[in-house]
C-alpha cells in the first residue's frame, strides 16, 4: 500500500515545495522551522495547518511533519490545527526550531451526534438521540448491522428468533406504532434515506445514531414514524499522508443449543407409538456443528483535502444444517476530495454487495423434532429407492422424513446490491453552504426453488418441480440543502437548514415454475419441465414505481451554550396517496437547557432537561392501493372450444377496492428527557419518557362487500377489505441509560453500562374512522392439524394490542382430559400478551494493559409466548402414535393429557429471559515503530447461556408472526413461536486483527 501511495506522495511533495518556494520568495525576515508530532504514536503529523495568529499567513506540514515559516516582526504565536486534535497555540519567542506535540481531541470526536442533514454537538441536542460507537457494539460473529445494536439502546428492540444465518432481524423502536405499514425504523445510510442494510458491512461502520423521538424523526416526515437509524460509515484515514491497513479475520463455530426434550425411541413405543424398529435421533441426523469464517480488510488514508477508505469484507456463514449458508462479499470505497481551498467538497461513497445464500424447507426443523424415532433414515427397498431416493417415507398425514426434506428441496439465491452516492458541497460564504446529493440504491435478487422428483412432500406428486424468480428494485434520490450559520449576538447562535428532495423507486420481478421432469435438472433448465400450466406451475411478472417529493427546513438556536431550541418541518407528497389527500406536513419542536451552565448542580457536570414534540408519518405499504387497479382473473376461452385460440384471454378483476382518500399515518409524540453527566462526565446517562398517539393507521380492513364504495363514489366494493386510514393507538414508555467511562481500579479500567426500557404497552383506543368501525379484530390460528379456524389473538378496542384470548385451563379430569373454562370463542378470556413489559441490556468492559474483556447481558420481561410445540405435540392423544411428543418441564405427566390439543392458557408461557448475549476476551500487542502497528487476538462467544422459564426453542420476543395473514397484519399477532423456528445456536469465535501503517 505504501508503494502505491508513493507517487501521490511525490506529487504532493512537489506541490508543497512549490508552495514553500512561493513563501520563500516573499521572505523578508527570519524563518522558523519545526515538526508537528503525535506524542502518543510517537509520529510526525503531516498536513497539519500552521498559521501565524492574527494573520492569514501560514503553511502546512510536509510528509515528515516538518514546516518552515518566514516571520514578520510582529509575529508572536503559531496556531497549529489538524482534524482530530485540539488546536494548539505556541509562543514563538526567539525559537527558530520548534517541536509541537498535538493532543488528540477525543471529546470532539465522540460528541458529534449525527441528527440527519448534519450533526450536532451532543451538548446541543434537545431530542432523544442515542449515538453508538464501535467500542460499544456487540461482539462476535456479527454480519448484520442491526445486530450490533441488539440490547444497546433503550427502547430499541432487535430480535431474530433462532439462529438462521439467512434470517433477518426485526427492529422496532419504542414498541409498535403501526400495523399496516412499515414498522421497522427508517435506515439512513450516509445520508441516503431508506437505504438497504445489505449495503453496509458491520466492520465499516463508524457510528450508529438512533433518532428516538418524534421531534428528531420529524425531519424525515412521512417515513419517520417507526423511528430513524442513521448509519455513518468510516470516512477518513486517521492521519494525513499515511495509509492505514487493517485486517481482521476470524473463524466461528456454531452449534445448535436448547433442543426441546422429546421421547426416546423406547419411550415413544411404550406410549403406543408405531414401531418401525430403528432408533434414530433425527435432530442429530439433521444438524451438525458449523464452521464459518470472515475476513475484513480495509485501507484508509488521506492527504491535503483528500480522504479515502476502501474495504473488502467477506463472510462465509454456514448454518447448523447442511444446505443453509450465507456467503457475502462487500466492497466499499469512500472518497472525499476538496477543492478551492476546501470550499468545494466532493464525496463519493460506493458500496457493492453480493450475497449467495442457500436455504432448506424450515419444516425440517419441525419434523426433526417430531418424526417417529423408531424410523430409519434410509430403507433399502426397491420401492423406497425408486420413489424416494432410498429415504424412509410413509404415507401418513403431515409426515416427512426431515433429512430427505432438507436434501431434496432447495431454496437458493443471490442478492446483488449496490449503493452509490455522490455529494457536492460548496461554501458560498464561510457560514453559508449549499449541497447536492444524488444516490442510487439498487438491489437484485435471483433465486431458485427446487423440489426433487423423489421429494415426498411436493416433488413426487408434481413429478419434480422447479422455479426461478428474479426481483429488481432501485431507488434514486436527489436532494439539495442550504445551510446557514449565524451568530446573531454574542450569545445567540443560529443554524438554519433548508432543503428539497425527490425520490423515485422502481421495482419489478419475474418468476416461472414448471413441473414434471425426467431428470432433476431443477431451475437450471425450466424447459425440461413438461408441464407449465396448472398446479405447481406459474408464470408471472410485475412492476411498480412511485415518487416522493419533499421540502424541509430546520432551525437550531443555541443561547450561550445554556438554552437550546430546535424547530423543523417537512412537507411531503407521495404518488401513492389518494387523489384527495396529497400533501402531509410534519413539524417537530424541541427545547433543552443545560442547568449546570445556569446553576450550581454539585456533582453534575451536565444536567440538561429537554422536552420535545413531533409529528411523523408512515407511507402506504404499496403505491397503488389508492387506485384499485384491475388484476388478472381466470383464463377465459370465450367460445369454450380449446381448438380455437384467438378468443382466449385472461380476464380482469378488481381485487382491491380503491380509496381516493388514502393518506399517511400520523404519529404525535411528546418526549421529556434529561441528559446527565456526573463527576466530570465520568458517568453519563439519559432518562426519557414518551407518549405517542398514532392516528389514521394504514390498514386493510373488512368492508361491506358488494356495497357502494364510500371511498370511490359511484363504484362498488369487489373485495372484502379496503386499505383505509383508521384506528387510534396510544403507547408510552420510560427509558433509562447510564454508562461509566474508564473507571480506574489500579491498572484495571472498567466501563460498565446499562439501559432499560419499561413499556406502557400499546393500547387500541379505537378501531374506527367515519362509518367504518370495529370492536375487535381476530388474528393468528395455530395451524394444521386441527387448529385452523380458531384465532388466538383478539385485538380489542380499549385493550392492549396483541392480546391472547382463549379458554382457561381449569385442570384435568382423572383420565387427563382438559377442563376448560368455555368452548365458546366469544366467551374466551384474555390470557396474556406477547409484547414485553420491558427490555434491558447490561454491558461490562474491562481493560488491563493489552487485555480487554467485555461481556454483555440482554433480556426482556413481562410477556407471554405461545409454545406451539407444546400446543400440538405434548398430549398423549391419538396423534402421538404417529408423531413423537415433547416432554418439557411444563408437560403434565401425571396424568398424561389425553385430550386433542386445543389452544388454552396452559400453552402460554412467560417468556422473560436474561441471556449472556456475547462475551469477548482479547489481547492487543502494540508494536510501535514497525509497519505492523498493532496486533490483536481475541476470543468471543455468543449466546452462552439463557436463564428463562420458557420451554420452547427461543424465548426471544416475537414481534411479528410470519405465518399470519397477508404480510400486512403480521404485527397484530405478536408472541407466537411457530413450530418451524430454526434452532437456537451458540457460537464461538477466534480472531485476529492486525493494523499496518
Amino acid at each position: 500500500m505504501r508503494n502505491y501511495l508513493l507517487k501521490q506522495k511525490t506529487f504532493l511533495l512537489a506541490l508543497a515545495l512549490i508552495f514553500c518556494a512561493t513563501l520563500v520568495a516573499n521572505a523578508q525576515s527570519r524563518t522558523v522551522t519545526g515538526t508537528v508530532m503525535d506524542p502518543i504514536l510517537g509520529e510526525s503529523v503531516p498536513g497539519a495547518t500552521v498559521l501565524i495568529k492574527g494573520t492569514t499567513r501560514g503553511t502546512s506540514t510536509d510528509l515528515d511533519g516538518k514546516f518552515s515559516l518566514d516571520l514578520q516582526p510582529n509575529d508572536q504565536v503559531l496556531v497549529i490545527s489538524f482534524v482530530g486534535y485540539i488546536v494548539q497555540e505556541v509562543e514563538i519567542g526567539n525559537q527558530t526550531e520548534i517541536t509541537i506535540n498535538l493532543e488528540e481531541d477525543i471529546q470532539s470526536l465522540e460528541e458529534a451526534v449525527v441528527i440527519g442533514y448534519g450533526s450536532q454537538d451532543k451538548k446541543e441536542l434537545t431530542s432523544a438521540v442515542i449515538s453508538v460507537k464501535p467500542e460499544d457494539f456487540n461482539k462476535g460473529n456479527i454480519s448484520n448491522p442491526a445486530q450490533l445494536l441488539q440490547g444497546k439502546v433503550a427502547g430499541l428492540s432487535v430480535t431474530r428468533p433462532g439462529g438462521n444465518p439467512n434470517g433477518g432481524f426485526n427492529v422496532r423502536l419504542r414498541g409498535l406504532s403501526t400495523f399496516g405499514a412499515n414498522s421497522s425504523p427508517l435506515i439512513v445510510l450516509d445520508g441516503v434515506i431508506g437505504a438497504n442494510l445489505d449495503n453496509v458491512d458491520p466492520n465499516d461502520i463508524q457510528s450508529i445514531d438512533v433518532l428516538k423521538d418524534g421531534s428528531a424523526a420529524a425531519i424525515y416526515g412521512a417515513r419517520g414514524s417507526s423511528g430513524v437509524i442513521l448509519i455513518t460509515t468510516t470516512k477518513k484515514g486517521s492521519k494525513q499522508g499515511r495509509a492505514d491497513v487493517s485486517i481482521n479475520a476470524f473463524g466461528t463455530m456454531n452449534q445448535a443449543t436448547n433442543l426441546i426434550p422429546i421421547l426416546s425411541a423406547d419411550e415413544f413405543v411404550a406410549r403406543g407409538g408405531t414401531d418401525f424398529g430403528s432408533d434414530t435421533d433425527w435432530r442429530q441426523e439433521l444438524i451438525d456443528d458449523a464452521y464459518s469464517y470472515t475476513t475484513n480488510a480495509s485501507v484508509s488514508g488521506g492527504f491535503e483535502n483528500t480522504n479515502y477508505m476502501a474495504s473488502v469484507n467477506y463472510r462465509d456463514n454456514q448454518g447448523i444444517v447442511n444446505g443453509v449458508s450465507n456467503k457475502r462479499l462487500n466492497t466499499r470505497i469512500n472518497l472525499s476530495q476538496g477543492a478551492f481551498n476546501n470550499k468545494l467538497r466532493f464525496n463519493v461513497n460506493l458500496s457493492f454487495t453480493n450475497v449467495d445464500y442457500e436455504n432448506i424447507n424450515d419444516a425440517a426443523f419441525r419434523y426433526a423434532t417430531l418424526y417417529n424415532p423408531t424410523a430409519p433414515v434410509f430403507e433399502n427397498t426397491p420401492a423406497a429407492n425408486e420413489r424416494f431416493g432410498g429415504y424412509f417415507q410413509r404415507d401418513l398425514f403431515d409426515f416427512y422424513n426431515p433429512v430427505a426434506l432438507a436434501n431434496q428441496q432447495k431454496f437458493n439465491g443471490t442478492n446483488k446490491s449496490s449503493l452509490t452516492s455522490y455529494r457536492a458541497e460548496y461554501d458560498i460564504l464561510t457560514n453559508l453552504t449549499i449541497s447536492a446529493q444524488y444516490s442510487e440504491d439498487r438491489n437484485n435478487n435471483l433465486s431458485g426453488d427446487f423440489w426433487s422428483r423423489q421429494d415426498f412432500q411436493v416433488g413426487l406428486g408434481a413429478g419434480g418441480s422447479a422455479q426461478r424468480r428474479t426481483f429488481d428494485r432501485s431507488q434514486k434520490i436527489f436532494e439539495t440543502t442550504l445551510r446557514y450559520e449565524l451568530d446573531v449576538s454574542d450569545k445567540l447562535n443560529m443554524t438554519l437548514l433548508g432543503g428539497a428532495a425527490t425520490q423515485k423507486s422502481f421495482s419489478q420481478g419475474f418468476n416461472a415454475r414448471v413441473r414434471q421432469y425426467l431428470f432433476d435438472l431443477g431451475w437450471n433448465n425450466l424447459g425440461a419441465g413438461a408441464i407449465r400450466l396448472g398446479n405447481n406451475t406459474d408464470v408471472a411478472s410485475f412492476a411498480n414505481e412511485d415518487q416522493l417529493n419533499s421540502l424541509f427546513g430546520r432551525a437550531n438556536f443555541n443561547w450561550d451554550n445554556k438554552i437550546f431550541f430546535s424547530a423543523s418541518v417537512r412537507a411531503e407528497t407521495y404518488s401513492g396517496f389518494g387523489e384527495n389527500n396529497q400533501t402531509g406536513v410534519f413539524p417537530g419542536l424541541s427545547v433543552g437547557a443545560d442547568f449546570t451552565q445556569l446553576f450550581d448542580m454539585g456533582v453534575f457536570s451536565t444536567f440538561k432537561p429537554r422536552a420535545s414534540f413531533g409529528i411523523t408519518g408512515n407511507l402506504p405499504p404499496s403505491p397503488t392501493l389508492a387506485l384499485g387497479a384491475y388484476g388478472n382473473g381466470n383464463r377465459i376461452d370465450l367460445d369454450g372450444d380449446p381448438l380455437t385460440q384467438n378468443d382466449v384471454f385472461v380476464g380482469i378483476v378488481q381485487n382491491s377496492n380503491p380509496n381516493k382518500d388514502l393518506k399517511w399515518e400520523t404519529k404525535q409524540e411528546i418526549n421529556f428527557g434529561v441528559d446527565f453527566g456526573m463527576w466530570n462526565n465520568k458517568v453519563t446517562g439519559a432518562i426519557d419518557y414518551y407518549v405517542r398517539n398514532i392516528s389514521d393507521l394504514l390498514f386493510n380492513v373488512p368492508v361491506a362487500t358488494g356495497a357502494p364504495n364510500p371511498f370511490d363514489p359511484g363504484r362498488f366494493n369487489t373485495a372484502s377489505s379496503t386499505w383505509v386510514n383508521l384506528a387510534d393507538l396510544r403507547a408510552a414508555g420510560f427509558e433509562f441509560a447510564v454508562n461509566a467511562n474508564n473507571i480506574k481500579l489500579g491498572p484495571l479500567s472498567w466501563s460498565p453500562g446499562m439501559n432499560f426500557t419499561i413499556y406502557d404497552k400499546t393500547t387500541i383506543e379505537s378501531l374506527s374512522a367515519g362509518e367504518l368501525g370495529f370492536d375487535e379484530l381476530r388474528f393468528a390460528t395455530p395451524g394444521s392439524p386441527g387448529q385452523n379456524n380458531n384465532p388466538i389473538i383478539y385485538n380489542r378496542v380499549g385493550q392492549t394490542l396483541g392480546d391472547f384470548y382463549g379458554p382457561k385451563l381449569l385442570g384435568y379430569t382423572e383420565d387427563g382430559q382438559y377442563i376448560l373454562s368455555t368452548d365458546d370463542p366469544n366467551e374466551y378470556e384474555k390470557l396474556g400478551n406477547g409484547l414485553p413489559k420491558g427490555e434491558f441490556g447490561l454491558a461490562n468492559n474491562f481493560g488491563w494493559g493489552g487485555w480487554n474483556l467485555s461481556f454483555f447481558f440482554r433480556g426482556a420481561w413481562g410477556y407471554d409466548l405461545y409454545n406451539s410445540y407444546r400446543g400440538f405435540y405434548e398430549n398423549a392423544d391419538g396423534a402421538s402414535n404417529t408423531w413423537n411428543s415433547v416432554v418439557t418441564d411444563k408437560t403434565p405427566t401425571s396424568p398424561l393429557v389425553t385430550s386433542t390439543p386445543t389452544f388454552n392458557s396452559s400453552y402460554l408461557e412467560n417468556g422473560s429471559f436474561i441471556r449472556l448475549d456475547n462475551l469477548e476476551l482479547g489481547y492487543k500487542f502494540n508494536t510501535p515503530g514497525s509497519n505492523l502497528n498493532s496486533f490483536r487476538v481475541y476470543f468471543a462467544a455468543q449466546n452462552l447461556f439463557t436463564i428463562t422459564d420458557y420451554t420452547g426453542i427461543d424465548p426471544e420476543i416475537r414481534l411479528t408472526d410470519a405465518e399470519n395473514g397477508n404480510g400486512f397484519t403480521t404485527s397484530l399477532s405478536p408472541g407466537i413461536e411457530r413450530r418451524n423456528t430454526y434452532f437456537q445456536t451458540r457460537s464461538f469465535t477466534l480472531g485476529v486483527t492486525a493494523n499496518f501503517k
Binding site: F397, P708, F716
Partner: protein, 486 residues
Amino acid sequence: MVPALLLLGSCWELDQEVLDGVTPQDVANSTNPQLINVLKASAYSRIVGGWGAHNGIWAIHEVASDEMAIPQKGADWEDGGLWLRIHRHTWGPSEEAFNNSWNYCFTAVGEINNLIISFPDVELLVAELKVLRALPYLWLIDAFGNVPIITETSTGGNPTNNTRKEVFAFIESSILDNIDLLEKKDSKTTMNYYTAKAMLAKLYINAEVYTGTPRWADAEAAANEVINSGVYSLSFNFFSNFSTRNGGSTENILTLPYDQNNAGGFNLAQMTLHYLSQNTFNLQEQPWNGYASLEEFYNKFDDNDVRKASFLVGPQFAADGTRLNDISAEPGDPDGQPLTFTPKINELSPNAFRQAGARVAKYEYATGAGSSLSNDYVLIRLADIILIKAEAAFRQGKNSEALAALNQVRTRASLPALASISADDIYNERGFEFFAEGIRRSDQIRFGKFNQPWWEKGASQPFRGLFPIPLQQINANPNLTQNPGY
C-alpha cells in the same frame, strides 16, 4: 436547492402510474372488440370462485345437513370446533365459513354492479348481468335470508338489511324483467332463457320458506318450460354429468366451469379423500381426509340404486392394484391398518377413525389430478327441475303428474317405478339424487326435517334455518341487523 425547487415546482403533486394492471380509465378507453365479452366472463369468474372449496358456501350447506360431516380425527380437523358446531347446529355468528360465503356472493354482486354502470347502454349485456346477479342472491336468500339488496343504482355507504320477502321480489323481478332479452339456447356456463327459468323454478319451490306464501303453480310452470323446451334430457349415465369432461352433458343446465389450469377452486378430492388415496388416483398432493357422509344417510340408498356409487366405500387400492395400508390407523380401529372406508363412523369427535366414513365419489377424480379439479361443478341440472315439477305438482294435488316426474328420475337410477307418491318419497329421492350437490340443507328446511335430531346432533331450533349474518360483516357495516335468534 434552487434546481430542485424548480424541479419540484412544476410537479409537486404526483400521479401514480399502474404498470402491471389496468385502471378503470384504461378499461373505459379500450377499443378491443372482445373487451365486453371478457369483462362479462370475468364477472362470471367471481361466481366460479370458491364454490367448490373448503370453508365456503358448499361446506356450510353440506355440513349443516344430514348428508355430510367432517369427523374430527384427533387433532386433525378439530379447527376450533367450527365443523362440530355446524354439524350440531350450535354455530355462532363469528364462524369464518359464514363470512367466506357472504363475501363470495357479494364480491360477485359488486363486480357485476361495476360492470353494469360501466356499460349502461349495452342492453343485452345489462340484461344478462342482472340475471346473473340474481344467482348469488338466490344463494344469499337461502343461506342468510335478510340480506341487503345492492344494485347499480345503490348509493351511499353501508347498506341496511332487506327482508327475505324483499329479496325474493328482487330476484323474481331481476329475472322476469330481463328474461325475454336472453337467448333460448343451451349455454351451461352463462345465463340464458332456460337457466333463468330454472332459477325461477328453484326460487318458487322455496317461496313458502322464503316468504311464507307458497308459489307451487309458478314453480311448476317454470319447471315445465325448461323440461318441455327439448333442450335438455336426462343423461343415460348418471355419472357422466360429473365426469372430468362433463361439458357435453345433456342434462346439466348451469355449471361452474372449473379448470385445473385456468379456473381453480374445486377441491373436492382433497377435501374428502384419505391421505393414502393419493396413491389411488396418483394425485399431485396429499388429500386432507375430511368430508364423509353419515352412515344413516348412506344406508338409505337401495343397493340397486346406481347412485349409490356416489360414495366411495370398501377396501382401497393404489393405482397399481396393491392394497393400501395405513400404519397410523388407530390401534382401536376394528378394521385395522388395511385402508377400508366404512360407512360407519365411530364418533364425530374427538377421535373418529381415520378411515371411517363413506367418501364422496360422485365427481370423477382424474388420475394425476392436482388440488383443483377440472370437472365443471353442477349448479342446476334437469333432474332437479324434474323433481321440482314433481314436488310442485304434488303440493297442488296433481299426484299422477308428480309420480310420473318422480319415476322418470328413479328409473334412470335403475330403481323400480313407484306406484304412489308421498312427500317423503320426493324428499328421499332428492336426497339420493343430489347427494353432495349443496342442495340437501334447503330440501331439509322445505320438508321440515332440518331441525330434527340425527347422528351426533340434537333437535335444533327453527331459527337455525337461516345462518346468522356474519359478525365480521356486522362489524364492517353497523347498519346490518342480525337475523332473529342469534
